[in-house]
């Protein structure tokens, strides 16, 4: 090939002028066959050269020597080897065409490239040691574009500012101040602390800096165990394992049981071999440092752990409290929503989702009477008046006032009279609520010959509560919005809406047992209204959670509030608007709460089917906080549809608790 190109060079010189046009046509041909434009002759870049057809890369071409193809194109197709011409063919071709002299063979791409005349000339110039391109003039005259001489006229006409040559007044003032402060000793120069002549260089190893530069607490890496005598290259004899120990170690089945390091003695340091598990140990150390989270554990120094336990009396010292399940009142067929004992403690009322109100004898568990109301009964309440034997039951939108028929003749007569009086103005049964009226008082003939009264509301009633004297009662209808709370007077048969608007959804209302106060519990907080002054007296914030139940202490100064976030909050009304104690013992939402009338007891019932009984002692001394001790968990109900114990009530005279369960049973727990 070398000779070929030489001959081509010579041939080129001979026919330089005569074949100019033909060579150009051939160059155009070659470019067309490559599919590429001709490279810019002025560019030096190797990128501009004709791209390679072959894509095998920089591999020895002899690998393809025996193959049918020379490589692969960009699409991965084989590039077939062209048939090689022998010398005779070449000679004939050279004689036929002068182009043959300018043709070179590209072994890599297996192509024959015909060089143009211009290219031939460039080669000749390179050979002659000249620039390849004719246009390049190495000796061009130099043109001085920029000058370093200072011009007579400046580029900017602005005069030099004064600040360039006047010392700064403010800096001077500042300096004067600093000088004065230094002289008067206001600024104290920090003197370099004297270093003791000798000090422990590892002293601050154990210490930890409080904060690192990143603001995080610096925690030093745990230290490795220092090597001991047994890790010496020539440890004392007592560290060396005996033959039996070695055998035992080798026979040990578990890999973990084998010792990590076996002391071995060498007579000189030169004989010590490389430590086999060095890499492994380093790696594990790195893993330890990298992966183990390190926290600073401040050790509490507690000399007497008993000090930490709050001083509470033992439950057995706080007897009596309900603990034993003694009577089950069975008869309801659906969850019992509400229980209420009568003021003497002889009877028990219960209202259930099956639409019945039942009257039970407490002692024997006998159902004495059943009132069938159409809709589920959400609340029952016994009228506390000693002259009347009357119950109030909330069922749907209707509030029933029914004579219980348990009392003496005089009481029954008084009850009948009271019911007749309160419904005197109304039409006899039926009909809805008149325009502009809150409720409608009507007679009810459903419950046997005694009849009763119905207060028809606009919204479904969820709770009813009596005033202590038994004349007023209040109903709660959470859906009622502005008419959520209604206060009714039994003797006159009138109802009124005490609040023009309620802030939030009202869930419970209660009367204060002694004073003219009224508790309104919305889902978020409890408002205490002074009925005499007609003003808001206090607002109690229970924290998070929807309030479900509320009970007031017989003294009226304390309030317990149960909420759906499993908490029972005790409010001391004289103390704060925040809970005095928040008791979180239940696993599910609290459904009912109750105070005992005479014993220092209160209880909460929950959807986890338990009732927690607490000793809640309130002292007459204002300085002493109430004593709250959990004393007993009452279990006797089962969870039904994620509902447990829906209500709890205490017996008025005995330390007994009634619980109403979603399993349709009512339980009486007595003191052991």
């Amino acid at each position: 090939e070398e000779s070929d190109s030489d001959e081509a060079g010579e041939g080129d010189e001979e026919e330089a002028g005569a074949r100019q046009g033909g060579a150009e046509a051939a160059a155009a041909d070659g470019g067309g066959s490559g599919g590429e434009e001709d490279p810019d002759p002025a560019s030096d870049s190797s990128e501009d050269e004709r791209p390679n057809r072959n894509t095998i890369g920089d591999v020895p071409l002899e690998w393809y020597k025996d193959e049918e193809h020379v490589g692969y194109d960009a699409e991965g197709n084989k590039l077939a080897r062209r048939p090689r011409r022998d010398r005779l063919d070449k000679l004939i071709a050279r004689n036929d065409s002068s182009k043959e002299l300018r043709t070179v063979y590209d072994e890599y791409n297996d192509e024959e490239i015909v060089l143009s005349k211009e290219e031939m000339r460039m080669i000749q110039r390179i050979r002659a040691g000249q620039f390849p391109h004719v246009e390049v003039d190495p000796f061009e005259p130099e043109v001085d574009w920029f000058t370093r001489d200072v011009e007579v006229m400046p580029l900017s006409g602005a005069p030099e500012p004064k600040r360039r040559f006047v010392p700064s007044k403010w800096e001077e003032k500042k300096v004067v101040k600093l000088v004065r402060a230094l002289r008067k000793g206001w600024i104290k120069r920090e003197e370099a602390p004297e270093k003791p002549e000798a000090y422990l260089i590892w002293e601050d190893d154990g210490k930890t800096l409080d904060k690192t530069a990143t603001g995080l607490t610096y925690i030093p890496a745990p230290k490795l165990k220092l090597p001991g005598h047994e890790e010496s290259y020539n440890p004392p004899k007592e560290y060396l394992p005996s033959e039996e120990e070695k055998n035992a170690a080798q026979l040990a089945e578990e890999v973990e049981e084998r010792p990590q390091f076996v002391p071995t003695a060498y007579d000189c340091l030169r004989r010590v071999p490389a430590y086999a598990s060095f890499i492994k140990e380093r790696f594990e150390r790195c893993l330890d440092l990298y992966l183990c989270p390190r926290t600073r554990r401040k050790r509490l120094i507690i000399e007497d752990p008993e000090v930490l336990v709050p001083k509470l009396p033992k439950p057995q010292d706080l007897q009596p409290f309900p603990a034993l399940l003694s009577v089950r009142y069975t008869g309801h067929t659906k969850p019992v929503r509400s229980v209420c004992p009568d003021p003497t403690g002889q009877w028990l009322l219960s209202g259930s989702d099956d639409g019945t109100v039942r009257l039970w004898e407490v002692r024997t568990g006998r159902c004495m009477r059943v009132w069938q109301l159409e809709e589920p009964v959400s609340c029952v309440a016994w009228c506390p008046s000693p002259q009347l034997q009357l119950l109030a039951a909330a069922s749907g939108k209707r509030l029933f006032l029914l004579p219980t028929g348990t009392g003496h003749e005089e009481q029954e007569a008084a009850t009948k009279q009271a019911l007749a009086a309160c419904t005197a103005s109304s039409s006899a049964g039926g009909g809805g609520i008149e325009e502009g009226q809150l409720v409608s008082w009507q007679r009810w003939q459903g419950g046997g010959e005694e009849g009763g009264a119905v207060v028809l509301h606009k919204f479904a009633i969820k709770h009813v509560t009596w005033h202590t004297r038994g004349d007023y009662f209040a109903t709660t209808a959470p859906a009622g919005n502005t008419q959520a709370v209604l206060v009714h007077q039994l003797s006159k048969g009138v109802s009124q809406n005490p609040f023009r608007k309620n802030r939030g959804r009202v869930v419970r209302v209660l009367f204060h047992p002694a004073k003219p106060f009224f508790f309104v519990a919305t889902q978020q907080n409890v408002r205490v209204y002074n009925l005499a002054k007609q003003a808001l007296a206090k607002k109690l914030v229970a924290g998070s959670g929807v309030i479900t139940s509320m009970a007031v202490h017989p003294s009226g100064d304390h309030l317990i509030v149960g909420s759906e976030d499993k908490r029972l909050c005790w409010f001391d009304l004289d103390l704060s608007s925040k809970p005095y104690r928040s008791l979180r013992y239940h696993n599910y939402a609290v459904r009912g709460a109750a105070f005992h009338r005479t014993y220092p007891l209160f209880a909460s019932s929950s959807d986890d089917a338990t009732v927690h009984v607490f000793h809640g002692m309130v002292y007459a001394d204002l300085m002493t906080n109430p004593l709250i001790v959990p004393v007993k968990i009452l279990r006797g109900h089962e969870m039904v549809d994620y509902q447990g114990v829906l209500d709890v009530a205490f017996h008025p005279t005995q330390p007994w608790a009634f619980t109403a369960g979603a399993d349709a049973a009512i339980c009486l727990f007595v003191n052991p």
Partner: protein, 462 residues
């Protein structure tokens, strides 16, 4: 422990230890054995000692005996009893033997329409001859009279449940009159019925002789004095009232009827002391309305149980956790025991023995001995065997040691109160037992929430 160690080992060895016992009895001469001390093995129980007595007496057929050591029934082996009571085994042991009480035999079972709330024995039965006469009261207000297993009469006694029924002894001249019956109920009234015995045997329905009107709430308990001339009622209005009763009241009613007989119609219209009897819808007859003769003031809550301990002494129990003994003459409480739970029933030992048994909102029966002064020992003993509340307790009419209890666990238990475990248990009912009463000395009647009245024969063997 060291002191007990040799005794324990001796107990294990058993036969080697012997106790010398001297047996005596209060039975007749036929049952006496020589009082000379006999050495008996210490591991003998009641059965072994009974065999010895039978052997000594050469009884055929054999009779079971119970044994008393220092007034307490032997329920363990002799050795363990001595250990438990800290009695020396060295000295001669004086052992009294009494005939053992045989297990009661259930006899009759009468279904009712409602829960049986009260039962009262009105005489008859036992040694006195004649069929036992008994009255049962229900929650529907109906009182039934039974004689010899037959329901002689049933009448509505009260509007609402009847809570108490007691027989009142009478010395009435007419033999057919028999005892009176006092019933009390939820309507706050108590009624005295005459002609009970005749009605029970199929005669005319009993008549309400008097209406005791004074309570303002349920009358929970009633009791008549042994001589029948005074009775007491207590109720949920926490009052304990005393009334004339029996012959005295009947005489007063007759006298009033005679005086005002002419003005009967007028009086009925005025509604003063005379009323038309409407309770059972039977023939309208004049009914005397009686006012209380006195009140025993002291209870603050429901008076739930009353029992006469002696002609002049009354025991009452209340929900305010107290049991009181009253001197009826002076209307003052002579003794008070403060318990820690509500008390539901009380029974005093007959014949002035002084013991008072009561049960309440707990499982144990308590026996209070008011004669024990404070600090001298245990005034109240506890007899625990029931598994539910004790709803009623009835002391045997003649025996000072035997009592029966009814409980909410469905069992009726017979107790000899000289031991702390019951003699026998009758699984009489399938639901709560609400009342129990002795009908004569040998029949026990009980009623309960399974709407059944049951009787059982008990032979105390005395």
């Amino acid at each position: 422990m060291d002191a007990h160690a040799p005794q324990n080992t001796a107990a294990q060895q058993g036969e080697e230890v012997q106790v010398s016992c001297s047996f005596f009895t209060k039975l007749g001469a036929d049952f006496r054995v020589p009082e000379a001390p006999i050495a008996v093995p210490a591991n003998l129980t009641r059965y072994g000692l009974s065999q010895i007595i039978n052997h000594l007496l050469a009884l055929d057929p054999a009779r079971p005996f119970d044994f008393l050591i220092d007034g307490e029934l032997l329920r363990l082996s002799l050795h363990r009893h001595l250990l438990a009571k800290h009695i020396s085994a060295e000295a001669v042991l004086r052992v009294e033997y009494v005939p053992a009480v045989l297990p009661p035999t259930p006899k009759e079972e009468h279904p009712h329409e409602d829960w049986v709330s009260a039962v009262a024995g009105c005489g008859g039965g036992g040694s006195s001859g004649g069929a036992p006469l008994l009255a049962s009261a229900c929650y529907d207000g109906v009182v039934r009279l039974w004689a010899g297993g037959e329901c002689g009469a049933s009448f509505v006694a009260h509007k609402g449940p009847v809570q108490a029924a007691v027989a009142v002894a009478t010395r009435s001249a007419s033999p057919g009159a028999g005892p009176l019956l006092l019933t009390a109920g939820n309507d706050g009234a108590a009624r005295l019925w005459v002609g009970v015995a005749a009605a029970a045997r199929g005669g005319a329905a009993p008549e309400a002789a008097a209406l005791l009107k004074g309570h303002t709430d349920t009358v929970q308990a009633a009791a008549a004095a042994p001589d029948g001339n005074l009775c007491a009622t207590g109720g949920w209005d926490s009052r304990l009232l005393l009334w004339r009763c029996g012959d005295v009241l009947l005489a007063a009613a007759e006298a009033a009827a005679g005086e005002e007989g002419d003005e009967a119609a007028e009086a009925a219209a005025a509604g003063s002391k005379k009323r038309r009897k409407t309770a059972n819808g039977a023939a309208a007859a004049a009914q005397h309305v009686e006012a209380p003769r006195g009140e025993l003031k002291g209870h603050s809550q429901c008076v739930s149980g009353i029992s006469w301990a002696a002609p002049g002494t009354l025991a009452s129990a209340s929900w305010e956790h107290s049991v009181r003994l009253w001197d009826v003459e002076t209307a003052a409480a002579s003794d008070t025991h403060h318990h820690n739970k509500a008390v539901h029933c009380v029974a005093a030992a007959p014949g002035g023995a002084g013991l008072v048994a009561f049960g309440g909102a707990e499982k144990a029966l308590r026996v209070w001995d008011p004669r024990v002064r404070s600090g001298e020992g245990l005034a109240v003993r506890s007899c625990a065997s029931h598994t539910g509340w004790i709803s009623a307790v009835a002391w045997h009419p003649t025996s000072a040691h035997h009592a029966a209890t009814a409980s909410h666990d469905g069992a009726v238990k017979l107790w000899d109160l000289r031991a702390s475990i019951p003699l026998h248990t009758l699984e009489a009912h399938t639901d709560k037992v609400l009342c129990v009463a002795w009908v004569g000395p040998s029949t026990l009647a009980s009623g309960g929430a399974d709407c059944k009245l049951r009787t059982a024969e008990v032979a105390l063997g005395q």
